[in-house]
Structures are given as structure tokens and as C-alpha cells.
């Protein structure tokens, strides 16, 4: 691979990892949701993210050109080789935590993917055009949930606040540009994440304040996902996600 393709590969795998890891987390709610409809909804959102991950992985292996498949990348890499941003891998915790994270990411992806639809790489642009419609719909679901939980009982408010306090240390990584992403930005393939932060802050803070909640976003930011430095939680997730393929390589449905 030439340098441009190496950067593109790394960029695509990063986006795919974000999606597949979040998808796995959401799928943990399957049969555990607070009620049946919510269970189905969370599983469907998980499915959208699996689809997104597959599109990015499929394009990544095409760029790589070694004849590997999307499954090779998803199932046969170790924790240190995974490059998802940390916010996606945090455990689902309680329903409030899952929905606050989803809301944060929905707002982020609506902003990010909108820019990415204008990517100079036509495949990246096509994937973004497909995915943004799904994220806009996800936001229509996560936003009312935050409103409802924030204006609900003392207990639901307390749980939303706990989630906000926990997540505040992890959202900053969404707006950091890595070296290869900067390279791709110069050829208009990637998006400048740093430009999205003020709009994200504005949207989230405005919405939270109308719901009587707030968070302080000036705290320490925990980083490392794109370089394979993860929280302790990712290894456990991967062991569950990968064990079937690891014990029976090449297994098909």
C-alpha cells in the first residue's frame, strides 16, 4: 500500500471499529431492555451500526488488497489492534448511561457524517450518505429519552447526572485529529473533527439546560483508542464477540 492508502485503511478501520464496538454494546440489551419495544429498538440501532461497520470494513479490505475479509478484521485482531474511540467501548451500565452515550454520539454522528457526505472519496461519501439517515433517526429516539429521564423522578435524574459525569471524560476524544486523519483532510477525504466541537457543545448544552441538566466539559479528557490504548473493558467485550470465530475459524452460518 502507498502512504495514501495506508492512511485511508487506518481511517476506515477506525470508523468501522467505532461502529462495531458500539453495536456490540447495544446488542447486550437484547432481551434485557426495560420493555419489549425498547428492547427491539436498541437491537435495531445495534443492527444499523453493524451495517455501518461492515461497509467500512469491506472498503478497508478492498483498499488493503490482501484478499482479507471483513470477518478477518473484526474477529482476529487483539485489543491493542482495535482502534475505536474509547467512548464506544464503555460498558452499557444502566439504561440512563446507555441512552446518554447514545444521545451524545447521535448528535456527534449527525454533525460528522453530514460533513463526510462531501468526502472526495466517493465510497466514503456514499457510506456517509447511507449512515446519516440512520443517525438522524436514532437522535429522534435518544433525545426524547434524555428529556424524559431528566424530567422524571429523582432517581432517573440522579442516573442521568451520573452518566453525564462519567461520559464527560470520554467525549473529547471524538474531536481529536490523528496524524493520518490530518493527511486525509488535506485531500478532502476526511473531516476536520476539531471544527465540530463547538457546535456539538452548543447543541448538547442547550438541550440539557432545557431539561434541567448540565455538565462541565472542561475536565480531563481520556484518550488513546485510535492508538490501541483502551480501557480495561474492551478485552472482555472482544473475548465475548470473538470467541466463536477464534474457536472455530472460518465458521459460517
Amino acid at each position: 500500500m502507498n502512504t495514501k492508502n495506508k492512511n485511508l485503511y487506518r481511517f476506515l478501520v477506525g470508523l468501522a471499529d467505532d461502529s462495531v464496538i458500539l453495536s456490540h454494546r447495544l446488542s447486550e440489551w437484547c432481551s434485557n431492555g426495560p420493555y419489549l419495544e425498547e428492547d427491539i429498538a436498541l437491537s435495531n440501532v445495534a443492527l444499523d451500526y453493524i451495517g455501518r461497520a461492515r461497509m467500512f470494513y469491506q472498503y478497508a479490505v478492498e483498499i488493503e488488497g490482501k484478499g482479507r475479509t471483513e470477518d478477518d478484521i473484526a474477529y482476529f485482531r487483539n485489543e491493542r489492534e482495535y482502534t475505536n474511540l474509547l467512548v464506544h467501548e464503555l460498558p452499557i451500565n444502566d439504561f440512563a448511561f446507555t441512552m446518554v452515550r447514545q444521545y451524545f454520539l447521535d448528535v456527534f454522528y449527525c454533525l460528522y457524517l453530514e460533513k463526510l457526505t462531501a468526502s472526495s472519496d466517493s465510497t466514503v461519501a456514499a457510506i456517509a450518505s447511507k449512515a446519516i439517515k440512520e443517525s438522524r433517526y436514532h437522535l429522534k429516539r435518544s433525545e426524547p429519552w434524555i428529556e424524559q429521564l431528566s424530567q422524571g423522578t429523582e432517581e432517573s435524574k440522579r442516573r442521568v447526572q451520573l452518566a453525564l459525569d462519567e461520559l464527560v471524560n470520554f467525549v473529547g476524544e471524538l474531536f481529536v485529529m490523528d496524524d493520518w486523519e490530518k493527511e486525509l483532510l488535506s485531500s478532502a477525504i476526511a473531516v476536520d473533527r476539531t471544527e465540530l466541537q463547538s457546535e456539538w457543545d452548543h447543541q448538547v448544552q442547550t438541550f440539557l439546560s432545557t431539561s434541567g441538566m448540565s455538565f462541565d466539559d472542561s475536565q480531563v479528557q481520556i484518550r488513546g483508542g485510535r492508538n490501541g490504548i483502551h480501557t480495561e473493558h474492551l478485552g472482555h467485550l472482544l473475548s465475548e464477540m470473538q470467541f466463536l470465530q477464534r474457536s472455530n475459524p472460518g465458521l459460517n452460518w
Binding site: I40, S129, E134, R141
Partner: protein, 178 residues
């Protein structure tokens, strides 16, 4: 190609969407009309009786050097039905003697419910799924009442949401405008 001959039709759905009109014109201008017709026997596995043409995901059919090339665009990116649809296309074409078939999944142009045919929308209604509309006005597919409540933003599949009719109490899926 199937023609709509239901006289009630023009009253319920008066105009064609530009996206569907474009698809129809494209199909009519195609030199392999017979293959398109064969593919009218391929159905979405999760929407009984709805063909892939009527759903709007069948985008292009070509015959090049004895090989048939079919282009399909997925509805939702994680749609688990895509693999089954690929197999069904190959199966139907092999029945009429086309054995070299390549089914390609294309992401662009991204599928929208505007690509769905009027027949397709009518069919959805007949199996009690409210068809998509631009304003997301959901009326009951059983009693036509406009007084309906959203129960969940996701129904039995990613492309549908779950609603209840306040008049006849029917719980039904709405095929989301997308």
C-alpha cells in the same frame, strides 16, 4: 412490467414520486425487459408479497457477454435480508436459464422510500402495514383513521415503527419514510 389498473388508485395515491418515475423510465428503456420481469418474482423475505422492484431496491439489470449483472441497493445498512435476496435473485434467474449471474450491492444512490412503487405501497396496506409518506402522517391501514399513536420508533424490522390506532385499537407497523 406490471401496470396499475386499479381505478381507486389514482384517488389514493395521485402522483408518482420523481424517484419512482425515474426508475420506471429506466426500466422501460432497458433492453433486457424479460430479465426485469423474471425479477418481479423475487420478494423481500421480510415483507411477504412485496417484490424487490416494488420495494425500490432493484436498481439495474444488464446482460454482458452472456452474464447477467443485477444491481441492488440495501434499504438499511444493516439489513440482514440482503444475502437472502441475492440468493433468491440467482435462483429465479437460473429457473429461466440464466446461470451466470452477478449481483452487486451498490450504496449510491442511497435507497429512499420514494423509490417504492405505488403498487408496492398499496400492497403494504393490504397486508396491514401503513405505507410510507413524506409527512410521516400515519393512518391506520385497517380502518383508515388518522388518530394513531406511536408506540415505538422501531417495529418488527429496522424499516418499520410500531403504532396503534385510537379508533379500532389495531396495533400495526408503519413503513417509515426514509
Amino acid at each position: 412490467m406490471r401496470q396499475n389498473i386499479n381505478p381507486l388508485f389514482s384517488e389514493t395515491i395521485p402522483t408518482l414520486s420523481p424517484e419512482f418515475a425515474q426508475r420506471r423510465a429506466f426500466r422501460l428503456a432497458s433492453s433486457c425487459g424479460e430479465i426485469w420481469d423474471v425479477l418481479d418474482r423475487v420478494f423481500d423475505p421480510e415483507l411477504p408479497g412485496l417484490t424487490i422492484w416494488d420495494l425500490g431496491i432493484l436498481q439495474d439489470v444488464k446482460e454482458v457477454d452472456g452474464q447477467v449483472q443485477v444491481v441492488v441497493t440495501p434499504t438499511y445498512s444493516g439489513c440482514p435480508a440482503v444475502d437472502t435476496i441475492k440468493q433468491d435473485i440467482k435462483k429465479e434467474l437460473s429457473v429461466v436459464g440464466y446461470n451466470k449471474v452477478d449481483v452487486r450491492i451498490s450504496l449510491a444512490p442511497a435507497w429512499t422510500t420514494e423509490m417504492m412503487s405505488p403498487d408496492g405501497k398499496q400492497h403494504l396496506k393490504s397486508i396491514h402495514i401503513a405505507p410510507p409518506n413524506r409527512e410521516d402522517n400515519v393512518s391506520c391501514p385497517v380502518c383508515e383513521s388518522n388518530q394513531t399513536t406511536l408506540l415505538s420508533q422501531f417495529g418488527s424490522t429496522a424499516c418499520k415503527s410500531l403504532h396503534q390506532c385510537e379508533s379500532c385499537s389495531e396495533v400495526f407497523d408503519y413503513f417509515k419514510h426514509f
